[in-house]
């Protein structure tokens, strides 16, 4: 069992990570908070399943359709809500996510609230890994460009961004659409991993969990998001033995993180080969300094 079980957990973590990466762009780098990304996952999940089941498309193109569907819906949502001030945007996404779930509850074509069984099991560890690597590269390249810098500027100071000629609305929109596309693809992978879809898989609790992962990992850090998704997906799985108490601890942990280490695991820093080298050098130089000063005491 060992290997299968661990690969399974990593696959689930990878699916979560896909949404978290998108949310990291939106929340960590652009400063917008969403409580509705489970809704985009749902849209992507159902659209992907529709393509593989009803149109017999191959898996990867179907996932692209799922991502595209979520992106289109997010563009419409963004058009009407992105002008709202911070917390109202947040509430609007919450309402959106719940509305998607309740609509799917009532669409009998997809099985309504009972769910949609019989989706082929296409998702595995390796394609999740591949997709996530591509997703991380895209994200990292985007962030280290003028477009990414503009998003960060919007996060830091909206008014100043406008004054230096950044179209704040446009960059919020780009960020939202990309994050929704990521969530849509994740939803598609989820459906083809569980082999069924049910609206209640995409509740407000799911959206909250995703945002919590981003914050836990550290706002403005891709590697933080990766770590966050790995830790916070696998931990509840490992703690499954404690059944219902694990969510009690989870809730407490969330409060604890907020009040004690709000900058998250990585706090805006990235884990890259060069940053590791720098860290190593710092430690070494500190140690040699310590040696020197100890020597200088004489």
């Amino acid at each position: 069992m060992g290997n299968e079980y661990i690969l399974g957990i990593f696959t689930l973590a990878g699916i979560n990570l896909m949404t978290v990466l998108g949310l990291s762009l939106l929340t960590g780098f652009t400063g917008l908070f969403s409580f509705g990304h489970a809704g985009f996952m749902a849209i992507g999940g159902y659209a992907t399943a529709l393509m593989t089941l009803n149109f017999h498309w191959p898996f990867i193109p179907s996932l692209m359709v799922g991502g595209l569907a979520a992106a289109l819906v997010s563009a419409v949502l963004g058009k009407v809500t992105l002008k709202l001030k911070g917390d109202y945007f947040c509430i609007a996404t919450l309402g959106f996510g719940e509305a998607v779930r309740l609509i799917l509850d009532n669409v009998q074509t997809f099985g309504g609230a009972r769910g949609w069984p019989g989706i082929p099991h296409y998702t595995n560890f390796w394609n999740v890994l591949g997709i996530n690597i591509v997703a991380i590269i895209i994200l990292a390249n985007l962030i280290h460009s003028r477009h990414g810098r503009n998003m960060i500027a919007v996060r830091e100071e909206e008014l100043a961004s406008q004054i230096v000629g950044i179209n704040v609305f446009k960059y919020k929109m780009i960020s939202l659409v990309i994050s929704a596309a990521y969530a849509g693809i994740a939803g598609g992978m989820m459906g083809h991993y569980m082999t069924f879809l049910q609206p209640k898989m995409f509740s407000l609790v799911k959206s909250t969990e995703l945002t919590i992962i981003v914050i836990f990992g550290g706002l403005g850090s891709i590697s933080g998001s990766v770590l966050g998704a790995l830790v916070l997906t696998s931990l509840p799985e490992i703690l499954r033995a404690f059944s219902s108490w694990r969510l009690v601890f989870y809730g407490l942990a969330v409060i604890f993180i907020m009040i004690s280490r709000p900058e998250g695991l990585m706090g805006g820093y990235e884990l890259t080969p060069s940053s590791m080298k720098r860290l190593y050098r710092n430690i070494v130089s500190k140690r040699s300094k310590a040696v020197h000063s100890a020597g200088g005491d004489k």
Binding site: I152, L159, A160, Q162, I163
Partner: protein, 253 residues
């Protein structure tokens, strides 16, 4: 005509008139000053020019084009930028990142180019980093380029804000109390810097300031505001000898 023309500019908040029927011309390549007691509506005029506030009535013409009530980022694109009275930097970014971000306007590669790291991205990005480095050098911030903006001393934060504004290669620069909180030495340096960058970048500059030495020292034309209305206008000597200005500042004896 001037590069910037304000025609009957008016802004009311509820029943309160913050700026009332102000007419003003800023000549191209000049340094002009905007002075007046606190609450006279100076910063409100900056907010109106840069599109932060919506104009109640009147017109703003810049470089022959009507820019009244345009989105702030479009106004920035047309060549006007500014600094803020209460400094608004990208606080958690480094000095270098602050300037580099503002340079964005001088590149046009697409998201696609950046995701795939296409040649266009590499070429333009190289140009941007050079430009940012040059600006930082001109503004004398080189030794601190990797410091987080928020950790800079106050005077240097103001300098950085000017550097960031210059990154847009503006035609008109609005400075909102650039010398606030500076000692006489720093103010002196700032005056030199302002004259220098004007020559170097072919700028037109409009300054709000309370330091009269600075205003009288470098401005060619000055407008005095009081209670949202224009009180006087002219050369520093004209304004200094204007009776109504003296009354407004010192009160009638």
């Amino acid at each position: 005509m001037g590069i910037l023309e304000l025609h009957g500019l008016t802004k009311t908040f509820g029943g309160l008139t913050a700026v009332g029927d102000v007419n003003f011309n800023v000549e191209k390549d000049s340094i002009s000053g905007l002075i007046g007691p606190n609450g006279a509506g100076k910063t409100t005029i900056f907010n109106l020019i840069t599109g932060v506030y919506k104009v109640t009535s009147g017109k703003i013409i810049f470089d022959g084009k009507d820019i009244t009530n345009k989105e702030p980022y479009l106004i920035a694109e047309s060549g006007i930028t500014r600094t803020f009275q209460n400094i608004r930097l990208f606080k958690k970014l480094t000095v270098y990142e602050n300037v580099l971000t503002a340079c964005h306007y001088n590149a046009n590669y697409s998201i696609f180019d950046s995701v795939l790291r296409l040649p266009k991205f590499r070429k333009q990005e190289k140009k941007l980093t050079e430009q940012a480095a040059e600006l930082i050098e001109i503004m004398g911030l080189e030794s601190r380029k990797d410091l987080i903006a928020n950790n800079l001393p106050y005077g240097l934060q103001r300098r950085l804000e000017i550097a960031r504004a210059l990154a847009l290669m503006p035609k008109l620069l609005l400075l909102d109390e650039p010398a606030a909180g500076m000692n006489p030495d720093e103010t002196e340096q700032l005056m030199k810097l302002i004259s220098e960058i004007r020559k170097r970048f072919n700028l037109t500059i409009l300054i709000i300031e309370h330091h009269m030495d600075l205003i009288m020292g470098i401005c060619e034309n000055i407008m005095v505001l009081n209670f949202g209305c224009k009180l006087a206008e002219g050369t520093p000597t004209d304004v200094q000898n204007d009776k109504s200005v003296i009354e407004a500042y010192l009160g009638v004896e």
